[in-house]
């Protein structure tokens, strides 16, 4: 299926129909999810209404991690099989992943303040997610740091793979570091045990976020392919020989002398 999708023209045709569908589906599911999270779901016995933040925070965290894996897999495919769309897919999805990671960190902080009394704690999970955010930023910075866009794409692909190897190492190190420096007070960082009334909005929001990701991914990939086409057209335009003889030819660096 991956090979079948390799043809950019075919991708453009498919996504022309699939992207709007995903977009509307995402909007619908998210609307339902928001209503469920904010209105239908009951407040928690201990955490009160702040538990509603969980319905945004946890799905965002799931997306942050999944998208990074997607970037890594797409990068591997791009490097090993030179799949033409894989690199486009990786670069298009990184900003989406970074956005989800930021949302995860921000909403987590806003959940933590009323719950644990602190805007930030250096526990293993939060710290690892913070580093994941920096990995995303590094990937995006590297991909855009070169004048030659394909060089940027290749370098970023290598970085994504290096990062994915490093991620478990970071998680392990931070876990280790954290068990040694654990503050004296006991904090219930795990959150509430999930009751079914809470599981439902969580899953709905997760589905909504996933649909949003797919929709945005397709839009961003179409944009990237259009921009490449535009660049090719510009180069083409510069190479066209001068019009009919006798007419003043405007000197241009791209003009080809016939």
């Amino acid at each position: 299926m991956i090979n079948w999708l390799a043809n950019p023209a075919r991708f453009m045709r498919l996504s022309a129909r699939a992207a709007p569908w995903c977009g509307w589906a995402a909007a619908f599911v998210l609307a339902v999810g928001l209503f469920w999270s904010l209105v239908v779901a009951p407040p928690d016995y201990q955490q009160g209404d702040t538990v509603r933040i969980m319905y945004v925070h946890v799905p965002a965290a799931w997306m942050a991690l999944s998208v990074y894996l997607f970037v890594a897999v797409a990068s591997a495919i791009a490097l090993v099989w030179r799949h033409p769309l894989a690199e486009v897919a990786a670069r298009a999805s990184a900003p989406i992943g970074a956005a989800f990671t930021f949302v995860c960190l921000a909403t987590g902080s806003l959940w933590g303040r009323p719950m644990w009394g602190a805007w930030w704690v250096w526990d293993a999970r939060l710290t690892s997610v913070l580093i994941l955010f920096f990995l995303y930023l590094g990937y995006i910075a590297l991909a855009n740091a070169f004048d030659d866009p394909s060089r940027g794409g290749r370098a970023a692909a290598v970085l994504a793979l290096v990062g994915v190897v490093n991620l478990p190492i970071i998680k392990f190190s931070v876990d280790w570091w954290n068990t040694l420096h654990q503050p004296a007070s006991v904090m219930r960082i795990g959150g509430p045990r999930i009751a079914i009334s809470m599981l439902a909005p969580l899953l709905i929001m997760a589905v909504g976020f996933t649909l949003l990701f797919v929709a945005l991914l397709m839009v961003r990939m179409r944009t990237a392919l259009n921009e490449r086409k535009a660049m090719a057209l510009r180069l083409n335009a510069g190479a066209i020989p001068a019009p009919r003889p006798g007419r003043e030819r405007v000197a241009s660096a791209n003009t080809v002398v016939p």
Partner: protein
């Protein structure tokens, strides 16, 4: 083997002849550590508590400073293309350059650290552990840094990109390096940390030349 040594010697003599490279790194190292007491206050207890971390972080940042010169000069004047085409495998060439980089920057950092440890009032046992941890950990810093340097070759604003890339990668050595010194200050367990740090450096030795070479090939394409 001869080619490997030749490259190592060449890079090392270049780095040492300029002298500025090592001087800059050590100078920054000392300055950074000296600044901290002005920031957190001169109380010995506080400095003792955070001293290991300060010295390790300052060493990291100092190592970071010297990374962009690892491949850049050779990339600009075409030497890197020649290296890629030569009979010496690119991975070994990377290793030779990293070794020279370590002798010119990592090793001086480790050697300077005992004196800086005096500034933050570490006890003698901790000073020894600090020295050992830097000696073991700085090769990993050079190797991991080489991957980031290779990836960002020829990038606009290379310094910024390099810093952004290398920071997440430097965190595991930092945790275990500084942790070793703290464990030694408490009195137990430094050996475990140093062993893990050694494992990290050995793993970097095995993996990083391969990753750097791949990145260099991308850059030379």
């Amino acid at each position: 083997m001869a080619a490997f040594l030749a490259l190592f010697r060449r890079d090392l003599s270049l780095a040492l002849r300029q002298g500025g490279d090592t001087g800059l790194v050590i100078g920054f190292f000392v300055l950074a550590v000296v600044l901290f007491p002005f920031g957190v206050g001169p109380e010995p207890e506080v400095l003792q508590r955070i001293g290991a971390g300060i010295i390790w972080v300052a060493a990291l940042l100092a190592a970071l400073l010297s990374l962009d010169r690892l491949f850049e000069a050779d990339y600009q004047d075409g030497e890197l293309d020649l290296l890629a085409l030569s009979s010496l495998p690119l991975e070994l060439a990377v290793l030779a350059k990293c070794a020279a980089h370590w002798v010119a920057t990592g090793l001086p950092l480790a050697l300077t650290s005992p004196f800086l440890a005096l500034l933050v009032d570490l006890d003698p046992g901790s000073i020894a552990t600090l020295f050992a941890s830097l000696l073991i950990g700085t090769p990993a810093l050079s190797l991991i840094g080489s991957v980031a340097a290779a990836l960002s070759l020829g990038a606009r604003r290379q310094g910024v990109v390099l810093s952004l890339l290398v920071l997440p990668l430097y965190i595991p050595p930092l945790i275990f390096g500084a942790g070793a010194v703290e464990a030694s200050a408490v009195g137990s367990g430094a050996r475990a940390y140093l062993l893990i740090l050694s494992a990290a450096s050995l793993a970097a030795l095995a993996l990083c030349p391969w990753a750097s070479a791949a990145a260099l090939r991308q850059a030379l394409e």
